[in-house]
């Protein structure tokens, strides 16, 4: 059940830190020994921070280690879910509001090492994230679509189903810049 986590959003972080002098221990590697102490940004799943976390907490969310997120942000995420969709009962993958909020509140991307990777393909749920995955539709279907994914059809897809450039089948896969 734990691995049936879901969609949407993520995180980052900010700063705090102390001064550390670089310790260059390798004459051949220009970065070895470098220490980085100012936390910047953090993200696991797309959109979690911006959709589910109060704007006043966005920086704090980015500074919170994933293992501590559920305790700190679990209630807020559940309340936001029920605020976005007051009619929420269960969703297409059978999760209650508590279960869905619990899954969302640890912002890491679950990735399979043994099979196909996808955010959600109708069968596999959160086994990775492909460039082509329509994570917005996947996420909004789970938030607004009800037990069958068919409720509130005006809110379950933004009708932007693909990228503005074709991806490549060869490394590094992303499209050339505009």
């Amino acid at each position: 059940m734990k691995n049936i986590l879901y969609p949407v959003f993520f995180t980052l972080a900010v700063g705090i830190s102390a001064c550390h002098k670089d310790k260059k221990t390798s004459p051949t590697d220009p970065n070895k020994g470098n220490t980085y102490t100012i936390q910047g940004d953090q993200v696991g799943r797309p959109g979690l921070n911006v959709v589910f976390i109060s704007s006043t907490d966005h920086d704090i969310f980015n500074q919170t280690e994933p293992s501590q997120m559920a305790a700190i942000f679990g209630t807020q995420i559940k309340n936001k879910l029920l605020s976005l969709n007051p009619d929420f009962t269960t969703n297409k993958i059978g999760l209650t509001a508590d279960q869905f909020a619990g899954a969302l509140s640890t912002d890491v991307l679950n990735v399979s090492l043994t099979g196909p990777t996808t955010y959600y393909d109708g069968t596999h749920v959160l086994t990775g994230r492909n460039l082509t995955d329509d994570v917005i539709d996947d996420s909004f279907t789970l938030i607004f679509g009800g037990p069958n994914g068919t409720d509130k059809p005006g809110l379950t897809s933004d009708h932007v189903d693909h990228n503005d450039k074709e991806f490549s089948n060869t490394f590094p896969y992303e499209a050339t810049p505009w």
């Binding site: 959003f9 995180t11 020994g33 470098n34 910047g40 797309p46 492909n130 932007v160 590094p172």
Partner: protein, 227 residues
Amino acid sequence: MKLNMHKKRKTTILVSVVAAMILGGATVWASDHGDAPAISGKTTDLTDLYVFQSPENNNNLVFVGNVQGLLSPEASKTAAFDEKTLLEFKIDTDNDNKENLVIQCVPKNGKMYVYGPVQPATVGTASSTINSEASAIVDITPYASSTPIVTTTSKGIKIFAGPRDDPFFFDLPQYLKVVSNQATSFNNPGTDALAGTNVLSVVVELPKSLLGNGSSINVWLETKQKS
């Protein structure tokens, strides 16, 4: 150099202003783009994380980390990775949401240095240290280059760094209207708010065998700066 930086800043500001106007003055964000005040518009601002099985080799996994989103083509000409910013993929191999392995990426003198996957010197958000020799080094692909510069090592690690089209797509303005009760549904067709914009991207492909013996991992992406 100074001139270029100035120009970039002006262009970036212009894009931000235009985006803010489109969004009716709302904070500019998308997936993780500009998600929080402390990092919005900075070199530490992540946009997205992707991790997927390689389309070229089922035994490989691909990690994509993108920063500095909403770059216009003009801004992309001078956009650069920040040598003081570490881009770090954190990998939990035993399902406790604490990192057991990290892949660390640091730019230096036009090259991207990639370290790991390696056990981190410390766990958590407080600090990250480069504690190993680089696993792979690649020249950062210039904006004007028509073909990506790729390094492949003897261990099968493949890396790329440089500007790419932002792979994220979303009708953000309409979403904001919906959640602020200015609209009751999305449009059909929708409008991709990320169309025509670029990011700075690091792509690392490596054998799954370098990621432990489990059947799954948990991954998140962080940026950190030197003080």
